[in-house]
């Protein structure tokens, strides 16, 4: 046992290092998905988080070039029960540990992840520190207690791109069902704000006939509008939405100008821009099995989720409709404002990882852009 996870409340979980040697601080969260570790650890929304995978065997399928959600691993650290150095997949290009070490990511295995998960479930998400360099638990505890808390943190600037770029790849060969036939050329131009944007979202937009220009999250509204988009996309991302003031203020300026679609942090920013409030969930939603009801149809979607904050339903102004709710805890999962031509969902309709039940939302975005062209 050469690795220690120390939580701010003093609880210690020993394990074995399988990533970089060092120390790493972050908010400890757990993800209950059974597949998709490569997508998860490259998802910028996990910036500043120590991600615990509840699925015991991680590393089984190695890592490949298609699955990353960004150009590098983004998690602050990774905690698993049984890391598998040997991997088996026709798509694999290397081992998970090698990827983590190449990017200096600290990771530990042989941890009682179930005990850790149960602890987080009851005590709430909290700060933690992993040390794989021999630092004593006392020292680690002192360090973790000095670390910043997630609430009040704007982390989007850390993960956003610095320069605009365009994206043209679609989802092939892993195109989900309910994807329209690929158009000969893109019919819509979407400006996608990058607060920690996942690549699968971009692939889905392309699937649906969009030409995408990704812009840094700090791009002022007038600059985005100057690109003459048919619609604006507000991305997922890490941190406390309420602390990400620049982003929702900017969104306020965009609303009504162009159709806007938001996902995850984008949903929270939408709520804030529309005049609502957000709050921190006790341990968040991180998994690929959350049931969400689409209120208009009554249908249930199994969704991929990754968020620690949610929109307060009682804070929303008239005219803003709640479109989706989470059936596990009744939290807000989707918003729409007909008049302003905007909608957003708290979960991840693009999946990556997770089920494709909500892929229809990309088609809805396209319809909205079509209608408001």
């Amino acid at each position: 046992m050469d690795a220690l996870l120390v939580l701010e409340d003093g609880r210690v979980f020993p394990g074995r290092s399988f990533g970089a040697v060092g120390e790493t601080l972050g908010e400890v969260v757990f993800h209950t998905g059974m597949t998709g570790y490569q997508e998860i650890l490259t998802d910028p929304s996990y910036c500043g988080q120590l991600v615990t995978m509840t699925a015991p065997h991680i590393g089984n399928t190695g890592v490949n070039d298609f699955d990353p959600e960004s150009f590098k691993p983004q998690v602050a650290g990774l905690i698993v029960r049984a890391y598998s150095e040997d991997y088996s997949s026709w798509r694999a290009r290397g081992s998970l540990a090698q990827l983590l070490r190449d990017h200096g990511i600290v990771a530990m295995t042989d941890v009682d992840t179930r005990a850790l998960t149960r602890h987080i479930r009851t005590a709430g998400a909290m700060r933690g520190i992993i040390g794989t360099n021999g630092t004593s638990r006392e020292e680690l505890l002192a360090k973790v207690r000095q670390a910043p808390v997630m609430q009040g943190l704007d982390l989007t600037r850390v993960v956003s791109c610095e320069q605009p770029y365009s994206w043209t790849h679609n989802s092939a060969p892993f195109t989900p069902p309910a994807t329209p036939p690929a158009p000969a050329e893109a019919r819509f131009h979407v400006v996608a704000y990058d607060f920690g944007l996942k690549r699968t979202i971009l692939r889905r937009l392309v699937d649906h006939g969009c030409r995408v220009t990704v812009v840094p999250g700090t791009t002022p509204a007038n600059e985005a509008l100057a690109l003459k988009p048919d619609g604006i996309f507000y991305s997922n991302g890490p941190g406390d939405p309420a602390a990400t003031v620049y982003a929702f203020e900017n969104l306020f300026l965009l609303l009504g100008q162009k159709p806007v679609f938001g996902i995850c942090l984008g949903n929270q920013l939408m709520g804030l821009a529309l005049g609502g409030r957000t709050y921190k969930l006790p341990f968040g939603h991180h998994g690929a099995n959350h049931p969400v009801r689409h209120l208009a149809s009554g249908k249930v979607e199994i969704t991929s989720q990754n968020h620690g904050f949610a929109v307060d339903p009682d804070s929303l102004p008239a005219g803003t409709e709640i479109t989706h709710i989470n059936l596990n805890d009744q939290t807000v999962e989707g918003l729409r404002n007909e008049e302003l031509g905007c909608f957003s969902v708290q979960y991840h309709p693009e999946a990556g990882p997770g089920p494709h039940d909500a892929n229809y939302l990309f088609a809805e975005f396209v319809q909205l852009m079509e209608a408001r062209r």
Partner: protein, 1094 residues
């Protein structure tokens, strides 16, 4: 959507007798469906011919019919009960096929019965392979190239398209029986012929081979609102080519990236929609290319299946229960997840543990059978194990199997033939995993092993880690092994028994650690246990919670691992632990699970907390809401003691789960575990020949003369003293070597020299065989003072056929009253002498006016469910209460009512139990019944007359009785007089009589018209030719002794192959004549258990 209010009464069809490919998982699903629908206020009518099921308990449905599963019987039930709806999806293929038959016969329309849970169209698309493939191609999914054929010539055209190897699957058969893989033209023609024969519609599908592709199954649920969820993904370790029922499988899938898994998920949902499964559970099976990820859809079942039972147990999501609720109109989001309570059923369970299923085969019962695993299922049961990692679950599963292995090898019992290594890796057999282990130990790399086996390298690499750890352990002894390493071993699932071998535990260790000088069979593993506990290495228990700990779990459904935090939260209530019966196998099947479940019911009614321990995922006992607490654990000493340490039960019951818990009784008792009921020593006494023989002598109860021998010379000596014929058997059981009946020195010599490996420790037991004796089975119950007779069954087959393979009847109808009185008296005497508290079964034989005791088993027996159904008394429940100290007197009224059903004078009805035999699965196996039990299941028939009951039992087993044609008669001289009324009866019913020489002459002399035909050795055309030409409708053939042995084997073999009813006893023949008359008269009626009880 709320539940439907336009239907009130719902008919549920069960799956009938246990057969290979269709076992007690359908009792589990049917029982769940009954409970779920009654909970909603529907009136439930249940039909199943299998009495050994919980679903046929009178409390499970409003009207319960133990009747044959055929159109005629169902039509009568429907006419009487007038159900509004029929739920056909919880009774396996049997129920689904019967529902289609009822539809086609117009019965459903005639009585306005709606099918719920599946439409006829959906069943057709899913079952007809061509329709299914067309549908898949239509929705853009890929399937292996293939075609169907109705003749061998058509098949030859198809194979041009698919090439070799080609897979042949007959349509509409259970577990793919009759199919196979052909590598060349000769093999191809042979398998096609057999497949066409096995298919009730004479159709086979011939398919491009995807041998060696990865195999996955997804369990899917869908509701009326088109909400679909995946309950579980299952990955087969044995790749394509081995039937999934014969594959070692793992849940969840281990070797898929999310992108690939989501493709399977999307396709599985698309398959359900395309096939038209509107509500309920289905499983969809995929083959995935390991080299490019290409996906083929292989098949789907539009119903609850064996895999869905496994998925339910693996995830905690009750598929059958939810399927029943969806069928009456609910949607998934309207139903709660029982385990978390707060969250709805419209979600996908997520696992933070690994589940491994290993099939249980019984090839030792079918010595000549080919043990190669192919596309036709051959296993008779399975175990499931849960661990936090794959290696842990894998090792736990091996020791759950109860085949003498204490894990995946490393237990001192490896039998490897190194010369056959490559062959054993290439050809899948039940032993393959042990060859994989040997290969790893010999330094073969996972990549090389993958080349031979096509097992995914990830699994092989995991197993390599187990082998490596084993190597590290071997460097130590128990006293020197570091605590870290020992803990690591436990986390990899090594059992204490394996560690005792690896760490070379000695008697000195036993003395040091246990302070015991006596070395008992379990001492070595207990020494490891003691050391490990001293080091603080004890298991933790975890909850199966459907959600990877995201939400609190309210259901105490537990498994063990070696983690840091225990979640069992034992209560302080008075509690009783019931040890289950482990994997189904021939000789120990669903009957014992029935008894265990009833023990739970009985003790719960007395206010005890009930704790179930079992490892069989197919059963009702492992449903999380059967007992108060469920431990899904191997039934080994180590695992049971771990639970005892934690729960500290007031009592442990070992007499309901068959041999499985009995084998542990002595060791548990020695460890200070409070065993309730009959003391283990009494159980031992009854099994010990010498002690039991002495007891019988003392009680002046006759038993057949017996002796034992360790050599041919000794055996000859014993034989001379006792006289032929003899029953011989080893005092221990090794695979495939068991009981035989010998008539002469020559056969005895062959048996002693070749069949068994006798030694002073393992003598051969020799008993006088009571030829032509009638055998009786008596079940009794005792509370330590009073003894009551629960049931007396007369076996219809003669002595020499294992009681488990013989048909039997309640009440007895040929036993003279004085003999019955003798048996009752012996039973009471033995029960008192042995100190029985609970159940005991005694087998008697009657010959020449003497009643002999053959054996006594002071435990619940295979016949208890049948006796309970026949007498209307819940014997197993009462027995469980006896063990808790409740006197029998408190059940007096019930017991008296039951007793009334046992005598021919007092009984209202006759009840016949008939068995099903798995011959069709094992081509080339001699089908002669003998002292070795080989039946897989049973059906019960009840009727106002013996004939009606017998007819229903035959139909319940799927045996057809002929209504006309040629009856072939051939009996020994002694039986000729008794044959006469039977022959007359057959003639009156319009049968033409044909017979061999002696029998024909006799019958002709009595004025009957008979055609004489040749015996097999007399010339041609002989008896077998007639059978093969379909010129024989039924056979009456009583054994003529050694002289006609081969004739009989030939006849019997032909009869089974051609599906012709064969009676080997005159009592059976007389019963059949009565049965045929009863069916011809059409006077038979259907009666529910509730009506009978009044």
């Amino acid at each position: 959507m709320p539940k439907r209010s336009d239907i009130h009464t719902i008919l549920i069809i069960g799956s009938g007798p246990i057969v290979i490919g269709q076992a007690c998982e359908f009792d589990y699903s049917g029982a769940q469906a009954c409970k779920a629908l009654r909970e909603e206020g529907y009136r439930v009518v249940l039909v199943n011919s299998n009495p050994a099921t919980i679903m046929t308990d009178p409390g499970m449905a409003d009207a319960t019919y133990i009747e044959p599963l055929d159109v005629a019987s169902l039509e009568r039930i429907i006419a009487k009960e007038r159900p509004d709806a029929l739920l056909p999806t919880v009774g396996g293929q049997t129920a689904l096929n019967l529902a289609v038959d009822l539809h086609e016969a117009g019965v459903l329309e005639r009585y306005h019965v709606a099918l719920i849970g599946a439409s006829v169209e959906a069943v057709r698309v899913a079952e007809d392979r061509q329709l299914f493939k067309d549908k898949m191609i239509e929705i853009g999914l890929q399937v292996p190239r293939s075609g169907t054929a109705h003749t061998v010539d058509e098949a030859l055209e198809v194979v041009d398209l698919t090439g070799f190897p080609a897979i042949i699957r007959p349509s509409f058969t259970l577990g793919g029986s009759g199919g196979g893989i052909a590598y060349n033209m000769e093999e191809f023609k042979l398998i096609v012929e057999r497949g066409l024969d096995a298919s009730p519609v004479t159709q086979v599908l011939i398919e491009e081979s995807v041998l060696g592709w990865k195999e996955f199954e997804l369990e899917v649920m869908r509701d009326r609102a088109d909400n679909g969820v995946i309950i579980c993904s299952i990955e087969n370790i044995d790749p394509m080519g081995v039937h999934t029922g014969d594959s070692i499988t793992v849940a969840p899938a281990m070797t898929l990236t999310d992108r690939e898994y989501q493709q399977l998920r999307d396709q599985a949902l698309a398959v359900l929609r395309a096939v038209g499964v509107e509500t309920g559970g289905s499983n969809v099976q995929f083959a995935v290319s390991p080299t490019d990820g290409r996906i083929y859809v292989i098949e789907m079942n539009p119903r609850v299946s064996r895999s869905s039972a496994l998925a339910s147990k693996a995830t905690g999501f009750p598929i059958a229960k939810i399927a029943a609720k969806l069928a009456v109109g609910y949607t998934l989001d309207e139903l709660p997840n029982d385990i978390t309570r707060e969250t709805p059923a419209s979600f996908e369970p997520t696992l933070d543990y690994v589940v491994v299923k290993i099939p249980r085969w019984t090839f030792e019962k079918f010595v000549q059978a080919d043990t190669t695993l192919t596309t036709a299922m051959k296993s008779v049961g399975e175990v499931m194990a849960i661990g936090r990692t794959f290696p842990e679950a894998f090792q736990k599963a091996w020791r759950s199997l109860e085949q003498g292995r204490m894990g995946w090898g490393a237990d001192g019992k490896d039998q490897i033939n190194p010369e056959r290594l490559h062959e054993r890796l290439i050809t899948p057999t039940p032993e393959r995993m042990f060859y994989v282990r040997y290969a790893l130990q010999s330094g073969m790399s996972p990549e090389q092993i993958n080349m031979f086996t096509k097992i995914d390298p990830w699994f092989l690499e995991q197993l390599e880690q187990v082998v490596n750890l084993e190597g590290r352990l071997r460097a130590f002894e128990l006293s020197t092994v570091p605590a870290d390493l020992l803990r690591q071993a436990k986390r990899m699932g090594f059992s204490d028994a394996q560690l005792a071998i690896l760490l070379r535990v000695t008697p000195a260790d036993v003395q040091t650690l246990l302070n015991e000088t006596q070395l008992r069979p379990w001492s070595l593993e207990l020494a490891v246990r003691a050391r490990r506990k001293a080091l603080g290495i004890i298991p933790t228990f975890h909850r199966v919670d459907t959600c990877a700990a995201e939400f609190p779990a309210f259901t105490p459904y537990l498994y063990s691992s070696y983690e840091t935090e225990d979640e069992a939260e034992p209560t302080t209530r008075q509690k009783v632990m019931i040890l289950g019966s482990g994997p189904n196998r021939i000789g120990q099947g669903i009957e014992f699970d029935y008894c265990c479940v009833h023990a739970v019911f009985g003790l719960r009614a007395m206010g005890y907390e009930t704790i179930m321990v079992n490892c069989n995922p197919e059963t009702v006992s492992t449903d999380y809401d059967t007992a108060d607490r469920l431990y899904f654990e191997p039934l080994t000493l180590e695992d049971v003691l771990n639970i005892v340490d934690l729960e500290k039960p007031s009592g442990v019951l070992v007499q309901f789960g068959g041999q499985t818990p009995l084998k542990l009784a002595r060791a548990l008792e020695a460890a200070g575990v409070p065993i309730w009921g009959t003391p283990p020593d009494a159980i031992d006494l009854a099994e010990d020949r010498d002690r039991f023989g002495a007891l019988l002598d003392r009680l002046e109860i006759p038993a057949p003369a017996h002796g034992s021998a360790t050599s041919w010379e000794e055996a000859l000596h014993v034989a001379t003293a006792i006289g032929y014929p003899l029953v011989v058997r080893p005092s221990y059981v090794l695979g495939g070597r068991a009981m035989a009946i010998v008539y002469d020195d020559e056969t005895l010599e062959r048996y002693m020299r070749e069949a068994v490996d006798a030694s002073p420790e393992h003598p051969v037991l020799i008993d006088r065989f009571l030829e032509d004796a009638f055998e009786m089975d008596v079940d009794c119950i005792a509370d330590g003072n009073a003894v009551e007779i629960a049931g007396i069954m007369e076996q219809i087959e003669l002595a020499g056929v294992h009681s488990g393979d013989s048909a039997c009847v309640i009440p007895t109808y040929m036993v003279p009253p004085e003999h019955e009185a003798t048996m009752r008296a012996y039973t009471v005497r033995l029960a008192k002498e042995l100190g029985v508290i609970g159940l005991m079964n005694i087998q008697y034989a009657m010959k020449d006016g003497v009643v002999y005791v053959l054996e006594a088993n002071p435990r619940a027996s295979r016949t208890i469910p049948f006796v309970a159904k026949a007498t209307g008394v819940p014997w197993a429940q009462i027995a469980a209460q006896c063990t808790a100290g409740r006197p029998l007197a408190e059940w007096q009224a019930q017991i008296e009512r039951g007793a009334g059903q046992l005598s021919a004078q007092g009984a209202q009805r006759y009840h016949v139990k008939e068995v099903v035999l798995p011959w069709v699965r094992f081509a080339g196996v001699d089908t002669l019944l003998g002292p070795e039990m080989r039946s897989t299941g049973e059906a019960m028939g009840s009727g106002a007359t013996f004939g009606e009951a017998f007819a229903k039992a035959q139909l319940g087993c799927g045996h057809k009785l002929p209504m006309s044609g040629n009856a072939f008669l051939s009996v020994n001289d002694r039986d000729k007089a008794s044959l006469l009324p039977i022959a007359r009866g057959l003639a009156e019913l319009g049968f033409k009589l044909i017979a061999t020489g002696g029998t024909a002459a006799y019958l002709r002399s009595q004025g009957l018209a008979v055609t004489t035909i040749f015996k097999v050795n007399e010339g041609r055309p002989n008896t077998v030719d007639y059978i093969k030409n379909n010129e024989v409708a039924m056979i009456v053939n009583t054994p003529l002794g050694k002289a006609s042995f081969f004739d009989e084997v030939a006849i019997r073999h032909a009869a089974i192959v051609y599906g012709i009813p064969m009676l080997t006893t005159l009592s059976g023949a007389a019963a059949a004549v009565e049965a045929i008359r009863s069916l011809r008269d059409d006077t038979w009626t259907v009666l529910s258990l509730q009506e009978r009880a009044g």
